[in-house]
Structures are given as C-alpha cells and as structure tokens.
Symmetry: D2
Subunit: 293 residues, 4 copies
C-alpha cells in the first residue's frame, strides 16, 4: 500500500541522519500565496489566505478579549496541489486502475482516497535525500530549456559530474533540479503551471523503477517534460509511475538554495524530511520539505 516508500527503511533514515554535518537547514517549499503560478486550470487556484482576526482590530481594542489581550487568526482555501506538494498514489489512474490494480472507483470517491490517502504515509518520508542538479550539469547558466527531456544518460552524467555523494539507490529521495523555477523567478511565472518545461523523459521509467528510489521531486510544475513526448497522451510518465510503480512524485519544489549550497561544498546528499500535511483521504498534499546538511 505504501508503494515505493516501502524502500525507505530505518537503515536509510540512519544513513540520512548521519549526513548532518554542519546543521544548516533548507526549506524546499515555495511560498503558499496568491503570487503563485496557478491560473485556474481544472479549478486550481493559488492559495487564498484570509484573516479571521487582525492586529489592526486588536490595536483598536474591538475584539472583546479581557485585560489587553489581542489576537490574530487566519484561514486558507487551496487546491492541495497548488504549490509545493507530493502526489499521492490515488492521484493518477491507468485505464481505470489505481495503484496495486484496484479499480479507481474503489479507491477515490467524492469522500477522498479511502485506501492510499496521503495520511497513510504521514510519518514515513524522511531519510537520505540526494540532489541531481541537471540544470547545472547539462544546461546553460544552470537551466535546461523548456521542452528538454531529461534521459537516463543525463541523470547518470549528472551523478558522475557531482561525484560520490550523488549516488542514487534503493530508498533514496531523489531531487532533480532543472532550473525551471529559477527561470520563472527571473522572468515571471508565464506558463510555469502546465506550459512548456524541462522534465523527466518517459524513457526514464525503467531507471526510476530499477533504482528503487523511494520518491522523486522536481522544481517544475509537472515532473515530466512538457510538452509531453507523445501526441496522444497526457503526462504519460505519471501514468506509468504512479498507478503502476507506486512512485511518490513531488512537484513545484524550490531546490535553488540547496543546490547552491551543494555546489559550494560539493556534497549532494543530506537528511531530508518531507512530511506531507496529513489531510485524510487526500490524493496530493502540500509539504514544506526540510533538508539538513
């Protein structure tokens, strides 16, 4: 039921923790606010944050609390995949089948994902993280162009370029930086959400399977290259990876600060805790991933 997270065991967590040498921590989350890339596709808005109580009211003394107390409180409305997130195993189906061959309608109804809801992995996603900065290794100015399909060869070349600390194996949480987010930050969001982007090639499916990684995340909207490599498909690597491999995929992660640090000290692995908000039955969940080196 846990898909590739079954590869992430206690030994891997010990290995991850041992990578903490300096004690410096990085958040790999984008900010959650209205300044995000969403444009409404399939009802995905940016997160809308509103206040239930404010300091302005508190200062004015209208809140009715005793003895000088004032408070502020707030609320959010957001698509669970509006910003930095994990796809749950109920997010994608292949010909009506969810992960493990279950009928899609036996898994995800209007009540949410009754089988593989994100809460089932609430405690699991921490261990050894490894960053492959393909943008830096293969691209120009640290960025791959839109439409660039990252192949197994590119991944292997990046590992080779980065050295021993960049090895990828069973149970690892793999982060792939393309530079797409850096470009969006510089040029404006444009079509970051759903438009052209570098990303994993469909041809990496075997490699993703054979390495037995526990999960993979990118700094792009949709993990795989856009436009997709087949005319008659939509996000075909998702269609293979989620319902057929049980792979955990993270999207819209911000890997830039971590990548700069790794480039500086030449160490590309770290302890990564990427605990999804455990919304019961969610097929995706926001996350604030923390890498510690």
């Amino acid at each position: 039921m846990l898909g590739t997270l079954n590869f992430l065991d206690e030994a891997k967590r010990r290995e991850g923790a041992a990578l903490v040498r300096r004690g410096v921590s990085f958040s790999l989350a984008q900010s959650f606010d209205m300044n995000g890339p969403q444009k409404g596709w399939r009802r995905r808005t940016n997160p809308v944050h509103t206040m239930l109580d404010t300091g302005t009211d508190a200062e004015r003394g209208t809140q009715g609390f005793p003895h000088g107390l004032g408070g502020a409180d707030d609320v959010i409305f957001m698509p669970l995949q509006a910003s930095t997130q994990w796809d749950g195993l109920g997010h994608i189906f292949d010909h009506g089948r969810a992960w493990n061959g279950r009928r899609a309608g036996d898994v995800v109804t209007s009540d949410g994902d009754a089988v593989t809801g994100i809460e089932t992995v609430a405690s699991l996603i921490c261990g050894r993280g490894v960053l492959l900065d393909v943008g830096r290794a293969i691209g120009t100015g640290g960025e791959l162009p839109d439409g660039f399909a990252i192949t197994t060869e590119h991944l292997e070349a990046t590992i080779a370029a980065q050295g021993e600390s960049a090895h990828v194996g069973r149970g690892d949480l793999l982060l792939v930086r393309t530079g797409r987010l850096a470009r969006a930050r510089r040029e404006g969001w444009g079509d970051y959400a759903g438009g052209p982007s570098p990303g994993l090639s469909f041809t990496t499916a075997d490699w993703l399977h054979d390495t037995e990684i526990a999960g993979i995340a990118t700094d792009t909207w949709g993990f795989e290259v856009r436009p997709n490599e087949f005319d008659v498909a939509f996000q075909p690597l998702h269609q293979v990876a989620i319902p057929n491999m049980g792979l955990f995929i993270g999207e819209m992660w911000d890997l830039d600060a971590l990548a700069a640090d790794c480039a500086a000290d030449g160490v590309w692995d770290f302890f990564l805790t990427a605990a999804p908000l455990p919304v019961t039955g969610a097929v995706g969940a926001p996350v604030n991933p923390i890498a510690v080196k």
Copy 2:
C-alpha cells in the same frame, strides 16, 4: 524577528541528528479532516476537504484525458489553527503590541502578518526534541485531569523521573504530553477545543524564559491550563509568551505514539523536524511534525 528560534542553532541541529539511533519515525500530527474537535468558535471549523476529480469519474471514463489516463485532485478549506499547528509570533498581542514592541496594526492587517509571518521561519524548526510526559509521570493512567495546572515543579519532577535524556535547555524543542488527547480519543472530542484541559500554569513563564527553549508544544487545544488561572484574563500565558518572549507554541500535537516508544526504550529525546506550511503572512500554520529516534 525569529523570537526563541534564535536559540536553535546549527550545533543544536547536529545534536538532534545524532539522536537518530534506530531510524524509526513518528508523525506527531492529528489527522486533518471533518472528524476534528472544532465547533465553530471564532469561525474555526474543521478542515473541509473536497475533490476536484475522482477515481469514480476516471473509471467511468468521463474525464476527457487521452489514452486511458485518469486523475484525482482535491482542495481544502481550513482555519490554519484547526488542527496540529504552530502559533506564529503575530498570533497574540499584549495591549496592542506584537512581538518586539511593534504596534499590532503595523504587523498584522487583513493582508496577513507582514513582519513575522510563518514563512519567515519556514526552514528553521528542526533540531533536538525532548518529550516530557507529565501525564505519565504525574497523572493517573497516563493522564492529567482537566483544569490541572502544570507547574515548574511538575516539569522538573518529570525530567527527574525520565532521566538524563529528558534534560531541557537552550535551543530545544520541548513537547509536553498531558494525556488530554488520549482522553478525547477515548471519550470523544467533547470540549477539547476551548473547554477544560490540563495545561501549563501561568507560573511557568519564568521557567520557559530561563530555559531558552526554542519552542514548546502540547497535546491540548490551548497549551495552557483551562479554565485559565485568572478570572479577568483569557489565555494569559499566551499573552506573556508570544508577544513578550517571542516563544513558539505548538498546539493539538499527537504525542501518544512517540510517548509510548520513549517509555519503552527510556530515551526521551530525538531529532524533530516540525516545518510549518509556509503560508505567506500566516499567524499560525499547520504542521506535520516528524520525530526520528
């Protein structure tokens, strides 16, 4: 600007990571769903999770994706303090003043917290966690009764009972278990949200300050004892701790599984990553804290 998180330095993170011996991980989050304790006080509802796309639809083939692809997607509406959360430094004011003496209205308007929004600490909250199971040490059947005020003496007695791994000092993230959540789980929520509860006594303010802890969290709705200890105040320890000490307070954490493990192996400290969802300008934020032993 970071309040007590200034005490949490890189050395403390190294110390925390060194506590990972077995590699077992615990989520300290309650689930985020409609089965929570909220009853609408000050417009705080439980989290409402709805689906944008479902497996039922995908299986029926009505989604319009090519080549057998199906998808599920979802959205949430929730008060940021509906479930397991951190209070931000803009959450509470004292006589119109926010943390660091700023005027409350200069900090938190309808646009959110422009100064100490939770995103300002997005990367910081990971380090050594230590659990004081006061419910177990002082209570009956592992639980303190409602209205029980935990004093400095109770905290010190619990540290003494738990032994060396339970020492508390500068930069630690302190978790205090009262047993209140276990009771709610057994008996139903009742008035868990805002009603009678064990919790920290107002008299612990000096101890909280002097220990220079980086943050503190409990398994209760409101951190401090309820009813409060003064007739003419509401959450008076908040009023001291947040705007005057800059203390980070966590509420509604689920410490039960971790506490059982600590009792079993006699080790009460661990590596804790408690990264709030970085909602820009938020005065509180949901979190899925992960403890690794």
Copy 3:
C-alpha cells in the same frame, strides 16, 4: 429538463404580479453565517465569511489607495445547502437514476451537474406564491411537534381554514410553514439540521404531483417529516419527488414574518421571486426569496 418549473408560465407570473397590493416585501431567507444549524454532517459546515480588507485597516491608512480611498472586501466558503436553498434536480437519485431517467453518472460528476445544474433555471422562479401555515392551522401555538407528518388532509384543512387566497394549483410556488424554525429560534438550533422535525408525509406524493405545483418550500431542514416514515429509507419523499417528479424543493426558508403578515390581513398569496444563485453545475443553490404583497 425544467421539471415542475414547466408549470410556471407567463400567465402565472402575471397572476403573481397582480397580487402586489400594498407593496410590502419580505425576505424569506435565514441569515448566512456561522450562527446557523449545521454541525458538519456530510461536510456541511455553516457559511464561513472572512474579510479581504477591512474598515479598521482603511481607517489606519495602510491600504495603499490614493486620495483617502479605503475599501473593504470579503469572501465566503459555504456548502450550497448550508442555509436557505433550492434543491436542484441533480440533488437526489433513485436507484442510480436522475430526473428524466438519466444515469446519475451521466448527470453529476465531480465537475457538477452537466444537465440540470441550477443555472438552467436561473431566470424562472418567480410567480404566484401561496403560504400554507399548517403550524398555525393544525398545531399548538403556531407549531407542529417534531415527528409530525403533514398529510394531504392537513394541507387541505389548512387551505380551507385560510380561505380563497390559499388555493393551490398548477404553477404555484407553495410554501409550507410548520413552525419548526420558530421553535429553533426560541430554543436554540439543537438538531434542526437532520434531527426530528415536522414535515411532509410520504403520503403527500400524489397530491404534490396532481396539483402540478412548480415548487414547494418549508421552514425545516429537510422538507419531509423526520424521523422518516420508513425504517429502511432516508428522505424517501425526496427520492420520489426529485428524480421521479422533477419537483423543486426549498428548505430552511424563514416563513415567520410573512406568515404573521398573512394572518393579519387574511391574504395568503403574493408575488414570489426566489432566484437561486446561478452557480454553474450546482445541485443546490442558496437563495434569498422575496415575497411581495
């Protein structure tokens, strides 16, 4: 496709308009706020209204508008059937079939009601309204007790008691007052939402059909008597009336002020405009019904 609204024709609207004699208007809506009866059943919360901008902020001058302009703005999250509402024809299915024999899954998916969404009747619901105050005619102190099943005989007796202006026929919008809301207002909501209540008996189905009314609304949560009259059914009159008759049913209307006026002047019919908020694809919709006498 319009169900019983096909009975509401232009002649009926002329007849309705001719009933405006004094020019006094009544809103038949409850207020939309957190003080409503919802308790979270099937994720139905009360409406949550939050501010995007406030007068407190405007007065303090922090909004950034030029030349002394200030603004306030707001947002709402609400189940569409949280308060005064119309059920759409896609709200209830009978053995997998929606109104007009369509398969339920061909009508209402996660994208909403593609066939009978409430927007399809956006302009139609105005005409002759007639109020039957069964609580007053049959009950005690103007109220029927909980569990009281209103039969055809009770409806006919109320018509007889109220006189000629209370006749009910083809194309009319029928309002049935039970007194349940008045009781809730006096005693607190209690189980107004889903609990015991007076309401229409299942045995009125033929009468509802034969009268060819265009719609019917009550001052109760669920239109029909609660508990329901059969052990092995849930809201059985809905199951007959919506998917099989195409009847428009209104719930949680506030009929008290209008009823008092009708009792005072002895005139029980009026011009009624009950235009649902045209949320595209909605299976129910909030409404502020206006009766003019």
Copy 4:
C-alpha cells in the same frame, strides 16, 4: 442606515409590479464559475465550486444510503464580488469614514460590517427597474469603447431616445448598459476585471444624487469609467457615491438579453427583484437579479 434604498418605498413596488404585462422573466446574473473574469487582484478569484457527493458515486452504489437513494451535494468558495453583485455601504470609505460619517473601523472589522452589512437590506431591493442602453443609444454596434465616460448628457440623451418608459426618478433601480460585457463575451475576458472599460463619469455624481434613484447597476466590472478620470484617484465615483451618498451600486450584471427585449418592444421599465444573498456582515453580495416584463 439604508442609504438610497430609503427612496424605494411601497408605492414604488406597486408601480413596479404594475409593469408586469407579459410575464416574461430575465435573469441579469452572469454565471458563477471558474470561467469568469477574475485574475486574482486583491485575492479575488473566480468562484470555485466543488462536489461533496456525485452522481457517479451514487450510480456506483458507494454512498451508503438505504433503498437505492443516491445524492449529490456541493460547496462553493468565492469572493463576494467575484461575479454579479451589489456593493454594500461598507464597501468603500472616504478618508477613514464610512456611510453616515461613521469611522470606518467602527463599521467594518475582521468580523464584517456590523452596521450596514448586506443583510440589513435583504428584503428591500425590489421595485421599478429601468434600463438605459447607452451602448445602443450612443455607441457603435451597441457598444461603447473602453475609456468612454458616460456623462449626464449621455444619460439624458438615452432617456430621450428610448422614450417615456425610460424616465428615471426617485426610488428607481437604474440599469446602465455599456456593451462592455457583450464585447468580453465576443472577444474573451481580457482585462474585463479592472482594465479599461466604459463607465459612468465622475461628473454624473450630482445627477445620481439629484434623481434620488435607489440603486444603479452596470454590465461592467467597476461601474465607473476606467481608466479613472483623475490620475491621483482610484474609483473616485465610488468614493463619492458609497460613503457620501449611500448609493447602492451593482456591478457585473448581464443586461444583454433584457436590453434586446426592451429594444424589441420599446418598453424599458419592468419589475426588478435584486435580492442580495444575505451574508451577515457582508460588504458586497452576489445576486441573481430578476426582471419581469
């Protein structure tokens, strides 16, 4: 407290009802969905409608209701001014003052508008409506160009062109069609929300006051001409009309079908019911206005 709605009295409602000659009704609402014009300005998204239960689920038999019952239910998140709406009197302030000279912070806090919330006019807004199709009378192809400021002269010329039924006076609900919505419908939303648009000139303020109309609505985003007529102001006519005149302003109404009918039969007045959804404390409210001729 009711502002210009004080002009709308019972005689005016009788006059309005007498205008119902054919019994044909028009909804003047745009649809409430994600296909609207909002782009996120000041956190205004389009309405997000999601399902709590669907027909797909019902047909599949997974809902757990007895005896073949199935249900669909839904929820909405929307800024109250996302689509067709009334501005409440608490929407705009002038130099820190709300309508009737109250301090803005005494009227609208994070809890909403405590004085002039839209619920205070829930029952009032029905009476004689009159449509001035300035786009048709003055424009080209029924449309005024963006940036066109409608002056008193244009209004008077339109009244003269349309004839006796277009007279405007005390207590009337005035609808002004510019053709802007028709253009957006033809060309796409573009900058309908906040961008260039025809609209009322600031110089009509006296006329709006002197006619003693009860309210005015347009088919544009912002009622007044855009760009505004002064460099150092934002929506200056709002700043005069709402806090200083107490004028009710409607925006984003769809007047096209009604206008076509009026042009066809030469009758420009009708019975108008435009009852805002009575969200307690709202400073604006969605509405489905119904005109009956």
